[in-house]
């Protein structure tokens, strides 16, 4: 396990002296004295944790700036450009402003739950970073159920949102929380089912195995699953086509209406970091993770580039699409995404039975499967749009594009 993880291995062996047979360090340098041989394990592990989590947190803060700036450009504006060069210090200014604000707790609030909710919101985002393979041999841990771990941990956000909305004692927050629970649980189902196709192809739940299995990026082999996953994860992040949870024109700010100051900052940070984490999961599952076409660029850079591209796509979608109604969101999940993800599982399972020799696929197999799956995706979307009457309002029969 340790030898898989290059980062850990290198730092550990850099510090470790002593019996190389036990530690697995054939090239031990040994900066620390031999009496401190228990320390390298902790130092190496802690440095990884510190760097990886802080990368996601700092990029999460920068993502708020990037989002405002890019949405400005999408709307033919400039965006924030006052604080620092090109406004790059805007998140710092926002952070200082939010942290120095008075800590207000409404009288109607259930105080322990109210205080706990932002923390619980931030925790799953940080926990998911543990299983993300950021580069070749650059990950904190390679669980054999890491996909399951990531999906189930991100589902914790629902509880945090409901805690925040329920404990505030504000009717808008309550509405937002109820919408959140309905929406997030509905979209959890197609998201999980869409990943089953990838699990069938790799034969493993480990994210590292999934990246290694992608001789052809799974966005080509599993286009339908990619579509469902990207829609579902943008619904789970409460981003714009599905942001009824915090719809500012309907229910002020939804579940975080009564939050301010540092708690609000934590909620915002959790939301924006979760966009990055979700982009990272999509990169790992569909865009062949750290694997890049050119090998002289290091693998973490490839991973970050793909992740930023996905984050850009989320901003792009947010800048384009208007908000859906609650019943449209629910019917879209249950009537459209769920049957399509089941269809995807069926087709992929048939292909695995037909092509798979001991669960291994050659590149040619994957290309053929990609062709079939593209056809299935287009046919499935067309047929299910007709059958399920998506894009048709049952009340007034007014047609609009989905």
């Amino acid at each position: 396990m340790l030898s898989d993880n290059l980062w850990f291995h290198n730092i550990y062996c850099f510090l470790y002296t002593g019996d190389t047979a036990i530690s697995g360090c054939s090239d031990a340098i040994g900066l620390l004295p031999e009496s401190a041989n228990w320390m390298p394990y902790y130092i190496a592990g802690f440095s990884m944790v510190l760097v990886l989590i802080n990368i996601f947190m700092i990029f999460g803060a920068l993502y708020t700036y990037a989002e405002r700036r890019l949405i400005g450009r999408f709307q033919s504006r400039l965006g924030p450009n006052r604080a620092g060069p090109f406004g790059i210090l805007q998140p710092v200014a926002d952070g200082i402003k939010l942290l120095t604000k008075e800590s207000m707790i409404p009288d109607t609030a259930d105080k322990p739950v109210y205080n706990l909710a932002p923390v619980i919101m931030l925790v799953p985002v940080i926990l998911v970073v543990a299983v993300l393979p950021v580069g070749e041999g650059t990950f904190m841990t390679d669980l054999n159920v890491s996909l399951l771990f990531a999906i189930s941990i991100t589902a914790l956000t629902t509880i945090a949102i409901f805690m925040a909305g329920f404990s505030t004692g504000n009717r808008f927050a309550m509405l937002g929380a109820m919408r959140a629970v309905a929406q997030l649980i509905s979209y959890e189902v197609p998201v999980v089912l869409s990943t089953v196709g990838i699990i069938l192809l790799t034969g493993s739940l480990s994210l590292v195995d999934m990246v290694e299995a992608q001789t052809v990026p799974f966005i080509l082999v599993q286009p339908l699953a990619f579509l469902i996953f990207i829609i579902g994860s943008s619904a789970e992040m409460n981003r714009t086509p599905f942001d009824v949870v915090e719809a500012e024109s309907e229910i002020i700010a939804g579940y975080h209406t009564e939050y301010g100051g540092m708690r609000f900052a934590m909620i915002q940070l959790a939301e924006y970091a979760s966009v990055l984490v979700n982009s990272a999961i999509i990169t790992t599952l569909f865009l062949s993770g750290w694997d890049g076409p050119v090998s002289f660029i290091p693998s973490p850079i490839w991973f970050l580039l793909k992740m930023f591209f996905m984050a850009f796509c989320f901003i792009w979608i947010r800048a384009t699409l208007p908000r859906l109604r609650m019943d449209q969101i629910m019917s879209f999940a249950w009537k459209f995404l769920l049957p399509l993800s089941l269809l995807n599982i069926f087709v992929t399972a048939s292909e695995v039975l037909y092509f798979g020799v001991n669960g291994l696929f050659t590149q040619n197999d994957l290309w053929i499967m990609s062709l079939i799956n593209f056809g299935v995706a287009i046919l499935g979307i067309v047929i299910f749009t007709k059958v399920m009457e998506i894009g048709t309002d049952s009340n007034n029969k007014y047609k609009y594009p989905v």
Binding site: F74, T320, L321, T385, V402
Partner: protein
């Protein structure tokens, strides 16, 4: 249908993203401004003004305050009063420009600026005599003053317009040079083929 509308929408926003933003960052950059812009700071030339108070009479709001006294020079015709006060309260001004239109001697012009924010209402009363003494604010708007446009004068260029070149060239106001009152001939001379101005 079938999600193609979403793709179309994404392409529209991407086009917006690629093109230059239509916003300009104001204090550093400025939007292009027409030379006929009716700005806040009125430009007034004491040398051209006779103190007839036409502007004060025509002002719909009565915000031009003029105090005159007989001048010491004993010129029977075309002489001017001595001006003791010429104030314009631009806090209440609506920039209709009647005062500029009626000025028979081209002494009053609209300004070209728009950044006249002050902390008190009293500061918004323009003391034109004081301004004239300090020699500031000599970039008149070319609104209702075609002679400035004929000279290709642009108020935002930073150049100042002096009183002797600001008037209509065909008309010398000095009483000894005033043309005979043959109105038809004067009109034929001055306004033929000049309709474009």
């Amino acid at each position: 249908m079938y999600g193609l509308g979403i793709v179309k929408g994404l392409i529209v926003t991407l086009k917006n993203f690629v093109r230059k933003p239509s916003t300009i960052s104001y204090p550093e950059q400025r939007a292009p401004q027409h030379s006929r812009f009716r700005g806040e700071e009125f430009v007034w030339y004491e040398e051209r003004c006779t103190g007839c108070a036409s502007c004060a009479k025509f002002c719909p709001l009565g915000i031009i305050h003029i105090v005159t006294s007989p001048s010491d020079e004993n010129i029977p015709e075309g002489g001017s009063y001595k001006l003791e006060a010429f104030d314009i309260d631009i806090a209440r001004c609506m920039f209709c420009g009647f005062c500029v239109e009626v000025c028979p001697y081209d002494a009053l012009f609209m300004g070209s600026g728009f950044e006249q924010a002050q902390y008190s209402r009293q500061d918004l009363v323009l003391d034109k005599i004081k301004d004239q003494k300090e020699g500031k604010n000599k970039s008149p708007s070319t609104w209702f003053r075609p002679q400035l446009e004929n000279q290709k004068y642009i108020p935002h260029s930073g150049k100042e317009m002096e009183w002797d070149s600001a008037g209509r060239e065909e008309w010398d106001y000095h009483p000894t040079n005033r043309p005979k009152r043959n109105l038809l001939a004067w009109q034929n001379k001055n306004f033929k083929n000049k309709g474009k101005n």
